[in-house]
C-alpha cells in the first residue's frame, strides 16, 4: 500500500492544473485576459468575466475535466473570460488597489466591451475578486449588467472571522514596509486557521482508501494550488488590510478608490450571492451581509453546504454551482 501510494503520488507530481482550452486576448504588464473556447455552438451574448483573488492562482476554477466550474459554465452556453493577475515581483510593490481596479480590471473590461460592441458585461467575483467586483460595480455601474459574488467577504468584522481578528491587531505598516508581502507567509497564516487539519491530518488521511490514481492526481493538483501563492504587491495589500479587515469600510462607509467614493448602497443591479456554509476563511455571515447593504431589488442568496475550497473543486459544487449561475443569468 505504502509503495503504491508513493508511486501514485510520484506519478501525479507533474499533473498540470487547467484543462479547458483558452486564448490570451489581451495583456497589460503582468495581467493577462483569457477567453475560454466556447463548448456550445452559440455562446451567450453577454460575456461573463471571472475576477479571481490576488492571493491564489485562478486555475482552481478549472482544475481538471470533472472538477472545473469553468467547464460547467461553458457547457451551459456561457461565454467565459478570466483575469490572471500574474505574479507580482519587487517592481510591483507600489501597485495600489486603484491600479488593480481602474487600470487592470477596467482595462480587461474595456477590451471585452470594445471587441464585443457592448456597453456592459456580467461579472463573477470570487473571494477577494468579489470585493474587487463589488467596488468596480459601484464605481462603474453602467459597465456591469449582472453581478455574481462567490465566497466573498463583505462584513469583515463578524464574530467567526479569525483572520479578521488577527488582522485587526497587526501593524500593517510595519509588516509591509515598502516591500511586497510574501505569499508563503500569507499561506502559513491561512494554514494557521486550522493547523492540525490542514498541515497534519490531511496527509495521514492519504493512507486511507485505495491509492486510486484519479484521487491522488486530484490531491496533488489541489496541493500544488494551495502552495502556489503569489507575493502580494505591498501597497495594495496594505490598503486591503487597513480598509477592509481593519476599518470594515464596506459596512462602516468611507471607502474611496482613486478619490472616488465606493458605496455599496448605490448598487441597483441584479446580484447573485453564493455562500459556503462551511467556509472557514470567509464566514457565511460575512458574505450574507451584502444583502442588507445594496439597493438591488433583484437580489438572490444561494447557500451551499460547502467549504471555501469545496466551492470550486468538490463534486457537489460541480453539480450545483454552474447550473445555478447559468440559470440565474439566463433569467436575466
Amino acid at each position: 500500500m505504502t509503495a503504491r501510494l508513493y508511486a501514485a503520488l510520484s506519478a501525479a507530481r507533474h499533473c498540470a492544473p487547467g484543462c479547458t482550452e483558452k486564448d490570451e486576448v489581451w495583456r497589460s504588464g503582468k495581467v493577462r485576459l483569457y477567453r475560454y473556447r466556447p463548448l456550445s455552438p452559440a455562446p451567450g451574448a453577454v460575456p461573463l468575466l471571472i475576477v479571481y483573488a490576488l492571493v491564489n492562482r485562478p486555475y482552481m476554477m478549472d482544475l481538471e475535466p470533472d472538477r472545473s466550474l469553468i467547464r460547467g459554465l461553458l457547457s451551459r452556453g456561457l461565454d467565459v473570460y478570466l483575469i490572471d493577475w500574474g505574479y507580482p515581483d519587487g517592481a510591483d510593490r507600489f501597485t495600489t488597489l486603484e491600479d488593480y481596479l481602474e487600470d487592470q480590471l477596467a482595462g480587461c473590461i474595456d477590451e471585452i466591451l470594445k471587441v464585443r460592441g457592448l456597453d456592459a458585461l456580467n461579472l463573477l467575483g470570487v473571494c477577494q475578486g468579489g470585493v474587487f467586483s463589488l467596488c468596480f460595480a459601484a464605481l462603474h455601474p453602467e459597465r456591469v449588467r449582472n453581478l455574481i459574488t462567490m465566497v466573498t467577504p463583505v462584513d469583515f468584522h463578524t464574530s467567526a472571522d479569525l483572520l479578521s481578528k488577527w488582522a485587526r491587531k497587526i501593524d500593517v505598516d510595519a509588516w509591509v514596509g515598502q516591500a511586497n508581502v510574501s505569499g508563503d507567509v500569507l499561506n502559513q497564516l491561512f494554514l494557521a486557521l486550522m493547523p492540525f487539519r490542514l498541515s497534519q491530518q490531511k496527509y495521514v488521511d492519504l493512507l486511507r482508501g485505495e491509492a486510486d490514481p484519479a484521487r491522488i492526481e486530484n490531491f496533488m493538483r489541489v496541493e500544488r494550488w494551495i502552495y502556489d501563492s503569489p507575493d502580494q504587491a505591498g501597497a495594495a495589500f496594505r490598503e486591503f488590510v487597513v480598509w477592509f479587515y481593519q476599518q470594515n469600510r464596506f459596512v462602516r462607509g468611507g471607502l474611496a478608490i482613486g478619490g472616488r467614493s465606493v458605496d455599496l448602497r448605490t448598487l441597483e443591479l441584479p446580484i447573485l450571492n453564493l455562500i459556503g456554509t462551511r467556509d472557514h476563511l470567509v464566514p457565511p455571515a460575512s458574505s450574507a451581509a451584502l444583502r442588507g447593504l445594496t439597493r438591488s431589488s433583484d437580489f438572490t442568496t444561494l447557500e451551499l453546504d460547502l467549504g471555501h475550497i469545496g466551492m470550486y473543486v468538490s463534486a457537489r459544487a460541480q453539480r450545483q454551482v454552474p447550473p445555478a449561475i447559468a440559470d440565474w443569468l439566463g433569467e436575466r
Partner: protein, 262 residues
C-alpha cells in the same frame, strides 16, 4: 494488523525524509524536510499501552495524551518558518558607539535588539501553543472511553482523529482570544523590524561594492510610476477629447447616409 498499518505509515513518511546529503553541495541542494509526519512507531506503542491498561486507565490515558501533546509541539515551528536566527549579535546592544564606525555599530546594535525582540515574541507564541496542546490533552483524556483490546487499524485512526478534533478545538478557543492575536501581531512586527534593521545594516556593504540598494531601486520605481501615471492620464484625456469628435463624425455620416436614402 493495527501495528502494520502504522508501520506502513512510518515507512511512507521515511520515503519523504531521506537521510541528509553529506556532500559539500548537500546544504544547498537539499530541500527542507517535509514535516507533518509524527513518529508512527511511538504512536502505535503509546496507543497499545493505553489499550492494554484495562478499565482503570486514567494514568495511561494521560500518558497517551501527553505523548500526543509532545509530538505536536513542533507543528508551530513549521508555521513560523523556523526560529529567530541564532548566533551571538555582532555588537553588544548597550555598548557605546564611538569613532568612524559608530554608525555601522549602531545599525548592528539595532539589528541585534530586533532579533532579541523577535525571539521573545516567538517564545510567547510557543507558550500559548503549548497551553492549547495541554488543554487538548486534558480534553482527549476526558473523551477516551474504556479501551477495546486488541486495537484495530480503524481504532487507531479513530484515536488519531479524536486527538486532532481536541487539538483543533483547543487551538480555536485560544486563537480567537486576545492574547494569541496580540502575540501573533507582535511576532509579525518584530520579524518585520528585524528584517528592516538587518537590511539597513547590510546596505553600506552594497554601497561599498557599488551595487544598487533597495532604497535606490525604490526611488527609481516611484519615479517610473509617476511617469506611467502621467502617460495614462494624457492618453485618457486624449481619448476623452476624441470621443465627442468621433461621435459627431458618426452622426454626421449617418445623417448623410439617411439623407441619400430619402
Amino acid at each position: 494488523m493495527a501495528a502494520d498499518a502504522w508501520r506502513q505509515w512510518a515507512a511512507f513518511a521515511a520515503l519523504f525524509n531521506p537521510p541528509p546529503d553529506r556532500s559539500p553541495l548537500g546544504a544547498f541542494q537539499q530541500a527542507p524536510p517535509f514535516a507533518p509526519f509524527f513518529d508512527a512507531e511511538q504512536f502505535t506503542a503509546a496507543a497499545r499501552a493505553f489499550h492494554q491498561s484495562g478499565e482503570s486507565s486514567q494514568g495511561a490515558a494521560a500518558a497517551f495524551a501527553n505523548f500526543l501533546r509532545e509530538q505536536f509541539g513542533s507543528v508551530l515551528d513549521g508555521m513560523l518558518g523556523g526560529s529567530a536566527p541564532g548566533g551571538s549579535p555582532a555588537a553588544a546592544e548597550e555598548a557605546p558607539a564611538l569613532g568612524p564606525a559608530r554608525e555601522q555599530q549602531e545599525r548592528l546594535q539595532r539589528a541585534a535588539a530586533a532579533w532579541r525582540r523577535l525571539d521573545q515574541a516567538q517564545r510567547r507564541l510557543r507558550r500559548l501553543w503549548s497551553d492549547a496542546l495541554a488543554e487538548a490533552a486534558r480534553d482527549f483524556v476526558s473523551r477516551l472511553g474504556a479501551p477495546a483490546a486488541p486495537p484495530t487499524a480503524e481504532t487507531l485512526h479513530g484515536l488519531y482523529d479524536a486527538w486532532i478534533d481536541c487539538a483543533e478545538e483547543a487551538y480555536a478557543r485560544m486563537a480567537h482570544g486576545e492574547a494569541f492575536g496580540l502575540a501573533l501581531a507582535d511576532a509579525l512586527k518584530e520579524a518585520s523590524d528585524w528584517r528592516e534593521e538587518s537590511a539597513a545594516a547590510i546596505e553600506p556593504w552594497a554601497k561599498w561594492l557599488d551595487w544598487p540598494t533597495r532604497r535606490e531601486i525604490n526611488s527609481l520605481s516611484l519615479r517610473l510610476r509617476a511617469l506611467e501615471k502621467q502617460l495614462r492620464e494624457t492618453k485618457r484625456k486624449r481619448a476623452a477629447r476624441a470621443r465627442p469628435a468621433a461621435k459627431k463624425r458618426t452622426t454626421a455620416a449617418k445623417k448623410m447616409r439617411g439623407g441619400g436614402k430619402r
